[in-house]
């Protein structure tokens, strides 16, 4: 088996990694689009011409309602709105925008002829970020819009950074697999989904046999390559975009198999063990052969007494299976039942393990 460094290439399955649904780095490079809202067509046209000349992309709306329709379909970073308009006024538009604010902030700049201090305060209270009185020099209007561009750009950069950090915080940098944080975040969700829809869910606890000896004999680099190879091998044995695995400690991994009963988990464990046994990992220190011990458990809500398995019980059951495999000398896969289930009750009555390979 050729060791591949997958760290940073993530094609990891599992929930929470839909790139298209999250703001990414691309957003930071978008041109600033301004939505000009004014019921006066000539004012709209004048402002649009000024803004286009300053390299902004411009959309325009003749009413607040029209503005909301445009914003529902077109990403606009800045809203430049008049106050007094037929039907919905600029203040109401501001409040609407703020009430519907998503993770993408819209910078609102009110451009109105109302110049009173109370008007300004009302505009800001309604959610406007800035307030310019019509009649201010064009240079001032453009300067304020430039501030809006700067702030929205900064916000986008922050969101992109947060997005990247969010990804990094859920990824094991060595192997590129998910990490313990991801497991503790998403396994409860998988369990909840399993309980709600009555679908089975299997969890495998895997431990590389003799990992300390690999490190001692071949060096840490070879040990790290072995871990990466294990991840690549495990990923080839599970369903893409559905099953997922996480590294939970040095040489321990959890594999989560939604919609899978214990028999399906057994097949995955078997495939994994066979795949690892087939090829030694090629490292710089030479070929490294290793095996894996697997503990597995499955929850099947339809057959459970209380219909809900706790996260701790599931992890404990998988670990019980893993310890049983280790006790048998490693390179084994052992299924264990989750406490509180009918299967566990049957096992307690008969005093037998659910299943042992």
């Amino acid at each position: 088996m050729q060791s591949n460094n997958h760290a940073g290439k993530f094609a990891r399955g599992g929930p929470g990694f839909d790139d298209a649904a999250l703001p990414g780095p691309r957003e930071a490079h978008e041109r600033c689009r301004i939505l000009v809202v004014d019921d006066d067509a000539l004012v709209r046209a004048r402002l649009a011409a000024l803004l286009r000349a300053s390299q902004f992309e411009v959309e325009s709306a003749d009413s607040a309602e029209d503005a909301l329709r445009i914003m529902a379909t077109t990403r606009c970073q800045v809203l430049l709105t008049d106050w007094l308009m037929p039907d919905m006024d600029g203040l109401s538009l501001c409040r609407n925008v703020r009430a519907n604010s998503s993770d993408r902030y819209v910078y609102v700049l009110m451009l109105t002829i109302r110049s009173g201090r109370e008007d300004l305060l009302a505009g800001l209270a309604a959610g406007a970020d800035d307030y310019v009185v019509k009649g201010a020099p064009v240079e001032e209007i453009l300067a304020r819009v430039e501030v809006a561009r700067r702030i929205t750009h900064f916000g986008q950069a922050l969101r992109s950074s947060k997005h990247e950090n969010g990804r990094d915080s859920l990824i094991d940098p060595l192997t590129g697999a998910h990490n313990m944080r991801y497991l503790m975040k998403y396994l409860p969700r998988e369990l909840e989904r399993s309980r709600r829809y009555g679908h089975p869910l299997a969890v495998l606890s895997c431990d590389v046999d003799g990992f300390k000896q690999i490190n001692d004999r071949y060096g840490r680099d070879a040990g790290n390559e072995s871990l990466r190879a294990f991840v690549a091998c495990a990923e080839s044995c599970i369903r893409k975009d559905c099953d997922w695995l996480a590294r939970v400690s040095g040489d321990e991994f959890m594999i989560v198999l939604p919609e899978t009963k214990v028999h399906g988990a057994k097949r995955v464990a078997q495939r994994l063990r066979e795949a690892l046994a087939s090829f030694p990992v090629v490292t710089k220190a030479g070929p490294v052969a290793f095996t894996v011990s697997v503990g597995m458990t499955a929850v099947e809500p339809k057959h459970e007494r209380d219909g809900a398995s706790k996260l701790e019980d599931v992890l404990r059951a998988a670990d019980r299976g893993l310890y049983a495999s280790k006790r048998r000398g490693g390179d084994h896969a052992t299924a264990a039942t989750v406490s509180g289930t009918r299967a566990a009750a049957r096992g307690a009555q008969t005093g037998s393990k659910y299943d042992i390979h």
């Binding site: 006066d40 004048r46 402002l47 011409a49 007094l84 002829i113 019509k134 009649g135």
Partner: protein
Amino acid sequence: MTSTRHRSRKEFLQKTPSDGLEELRLAFHARLQSDRVHFATLSAALARAEESPGWIFQDLQFRAHKIRGGAAIFEIAAVEAAAFALEQAAICAVQSNANNTDVRVWASLEALVSLMGALDADAAPAQLPGPDHLLNTGAAKSLER
């Protein structure tokens, strides 16, 4: 950007538009003339509306506000100020349930219409038909000034 304050329509027409902005300015000036005609109509209605001129004051307020905003954007400070005066006068008239002889409204209306007319040298002077019974009032005298 070149200021257009106090510039007549002839001056605008003499200037060759270098970009879309000049065309927009011309369009705004044309609209001011249209508004001027409308004000003349409104003033006639106001002169006749002895009982309930409230809706006329509100219409004057709305139109003055719109002109004020446009004039500010197109940098015609005099029109902006005159429209502001009319807007404020109309607001006061509405709030005080003034009748159709409200001096402040008539004065500010006259001032704005005159100014709009001055912007268009070729345009016929606006006819503001004040009510006959105003001829002997202070309002009429203020209009004459």
